[in-house]
Symmetry: C2
Subunit: 233 residues, 2 copies
């Protein structure tokens, strides 16, 4: 009870919650811009406009701040995925909902997701690593289960190992940490639609899928030369 | 000419090239394991078994070491992609070759690619950032061009913005930096085949695509229960 012997006990909880959020907001911006590894507690204290000693009242270490930033995101991802998996829906619809659960988080918490995906694996202490790896492994397993169940139901093509497929989808989605900007990029819903369409239907036009059973068999255009283009050099 | 006034001039070039490679090998292992941000020049010198002062003979800074590690990988990616784009082939075949060009690099240079994709964006000095960003942007543009040309030729479905599609494919491939291990994971050729199949054909079985283009409107099988599964909790 660090505030028990202070005179302003009554007003403390509210004020302290606000200050805590303020610290997290500044730390998130700094971790995003400079990287967790290159941000010191002094940097955070300075950005907030308080002394480093005052910071210790809220967070004992940089690791604690990192956990406070990424924790809600990982819980949100897992809870959302759990909800998708527990529904009775065709596998393709589950796939769409799982992609949406993952990508919508970038829209609302882009910086936090970036820090989670970039800095969560490196830095911090060993304890943090172990905890992060466990959470991430749980999440990956849920994706693998989605693919496995879809294959078993005949609703997802068996194009390879389920884990490999799950990692491919996660990679596609996680890469948003590198390029997505909620203020500048296309609306998240259009990214969800495009990525689901790529993964579900594929990029090859139906009329070109000569060998496929239900493809509208157009005359093979295999030898067609690609568009003429001016050389850049 | 730092070696001009040394007595062992004749033997130097050969020996120095070997030592240089040895430093890069140790630095690569350390950067991969600890992260670039958490590896000091002292750590590298100690791993090689030389003094830090001796290290300066080969590399003036940690940034120089990082460039020496990732430079050949970025050039390799770009040269390979240039070769793919310059060929006269159907877009789907170019897509397959471009995925192969990217993923085979993980097979041969997994640690270097991991360092490039994870540490290349953060740390180092501003000059390095700018150079890295430029190279990466060039490479991204080549992917966007592949998609654009494929759409124009009617060989790639227009599922959304070409850059967004290109980033999705790159994300899928780059995520190998997080999970792929050349000694433990599936052979790289099977990953290339699976990822190309996912991107080209999609995960939805053909027989379920009744009402193309939007197959999800097939007579709703919404009530179909998913595979029975034992609860984990």
């Amino acid at each position: 009870m660090p505030s028990a012997d202070k005179p302003t006990v009554a007003a403390k909880p509210r004020k302290s919650a606000v200050r805590r959020q303020e610290i997290l907001r500044h730390a998130t911006a700094l971790f995003d811009r400079k990287g967790y590894a290159y941000t010191s507690l002094d940097d955070v204290a300075q950005a907030v406009g308080i002394k480093r000693e005052a910071l210790y009242y809220y967070f004992r270490s940089r690791t604690e701040i990192l956990i406070a930033i990424v924790g809600p995101q990982t819980s949100g991802l897992i809870d959302g995925m759990q909800a998708v998996l527990s529904q009775t829906l065709p596998a393709q619809e589950k796939l769409r909902l799982a992609i949406r659960n993952h990508l919508q988080r970038f829209d609302r918490h882009c910086l936090e997701m970036t820090i989670f995906l970039r800095d969560g694996v490196m830095g911090g202490n060993e304890e943090l690593h172990v905890a992060m790896r466990r959470v991430w492994k749980d999440y990956e397993s849920m994706w693998t289960r989605l693919i496995d169940e879809g294959k078993a139901a005949g609703e997802i093509s068996d194009l390879g190992d389920s884990k490999m497929i799950a990692f491919g989808i996660l990679g596609m989605c996680n890469w948003l940490a590198r390029w997505y900007n909620p203020r500048k990029s296309a609306p998240i819903d259009s990214i969800i639609d495009t990525y689901f369409a790529m993964l579900s239907q594929g990029l090859q036009p139906m009329h070109q899928r000569a060998g496929e059973p239900s493809a509208l068999t157009a005359p093979a255009r295999v030898a067609r030369p690609s568009q003429p283009r001016k050389k850049s050099t």
